[in-house]
Symmetry: C2
Subunit: 185 residues, 2 copies
DNA sequence: GCCTACACGGAGGCCGCCTCCGGTAAGGTG
DNA sequence: CACCTTACCGGAGGCGGCCTCCGTGTAGGC
């Protein structure tokens, strides 16, 4: 790739990151191009469509999720560990307002979109924490990692939709928590 | 209201119903006007904005939810009754693809949008079934009607987002169910 | 230093949102 | 029944977003 192309691509990605954080996944692509000081053609050449751009933006953040995973892994209580991981996923998904939709689509998509990769990592980590919790007898046997990622996406959606008032999402999170944990006698 | 105005309003509402069912809440308002054979101006005079139109469309269907409520009320098992009502709400919300968002917004909205009315009814009925379940000791005390409506909206959202594959929503529904019910020993 | 392939960016087509205004006809009144 | 007022109609048009195409420019190998 030519150096000017590389530069523009990186710049677009950085600008896109801010825009998506601020305005959600439906943000105007033209506005991103304008802010980056390039023409719309340039944007569309580097990122053929919206989902493609979103996937790249997300990938640029996947380090953060990796750090979160390591942080969570240090939690000694196995049940709290699963709770914490669910919360991290929720935060991660919610940090891009509206991402939950495309992401869930990718979660079950037959064809491999770039978003699918991001999902694989989440699924793998969830699988791990869930297995630990199940072995310790604190997670219900019927619950799958797929279910939990779906739950995180739902919570993220609810949180983004409700805006400032977190009570709605808090209530749902509590119910879900009681749902995937085993009842303590 | 003049008779021609009445006619156009009813026609627009009927066409809008179909369009929303088919294409979701983001359907083109212009397309609705075209299909109804009127100009865009006419549509916007009758329904100032999208939410207004959606609310009217929804109100036209509130009878159905009333019927569902009566049907559910005949279920003898009090726990299954609550489950059934949750499912009816989920179906109702999901029948308008994408409605869940605006609806949840209205759920907590300080100002009274037309959508708020539809929420009040749902909340009231949920309150009733939940109280019955709690009295029978099959629903957790901490769970509120607000929480449950929120859960229904989440499930509707997940279902609409996943499309054909219902497993994702099924898993989440199971977890939620275990979450709002009391553990049976 | 030249040349060529790659990259740039803006013009433009299309569509949706919404507003405004000149024309039209409904339906009350004499 | 004819007239007049007034509510209503509908389309033109401004704006902004999505995306494509192509003439222009320049990076970097030779």
């Amino acid at each position: 790739m030519r150096s000017d192309a590389r530069r523009n691509r990186d710049l677009l990605l950085a600008v896109a990151r801010q825009h998506v954080r601020r305005h959600g996944v439906t943000t105007s692509l033209e506005a991103i191009a304008r802010d980056a000081g390039v023409g719309p053609g340039t944007l569309y050449r580097h990122f053929p469509d919206r989902e493609n751009l979103l996937a790249e933006v997300l990938r640029a953040e996947s380090d953060e999720l990796g750090e979160a995973r390591d942080r969570v892994a240090r939690e000694p209580d196995v049940a709290l560990r699963l709770d914490a991981w669910l919360h991290e996923m929720e935060q991660h998904i919610a940090s891009y307002r509206g991402l939950s939709g495309p992401l869930v689509g990718a979660l079950e998509g037959a064809e491999a979109t770039p978003l699918t990769l991001a999902c694989q990592e989440m699924l793998a980590t969830t699988e791990r924490f869930l297995a630990e919790a199940r072995a310790a007898g604190v997670a219900r046997a019927e619950v799958t990692a797929h279910d939990l990622v779906g739950c995180a996406a739902m919570l993220a959606w609810l949180g983004s939709t409700c805006g400032a008032d977190t009570r709605q999402a808090d209530g749902a999170r509590e119910i879900l928590r009681s749902g995937y944990r085993t009842p303590h006698r």
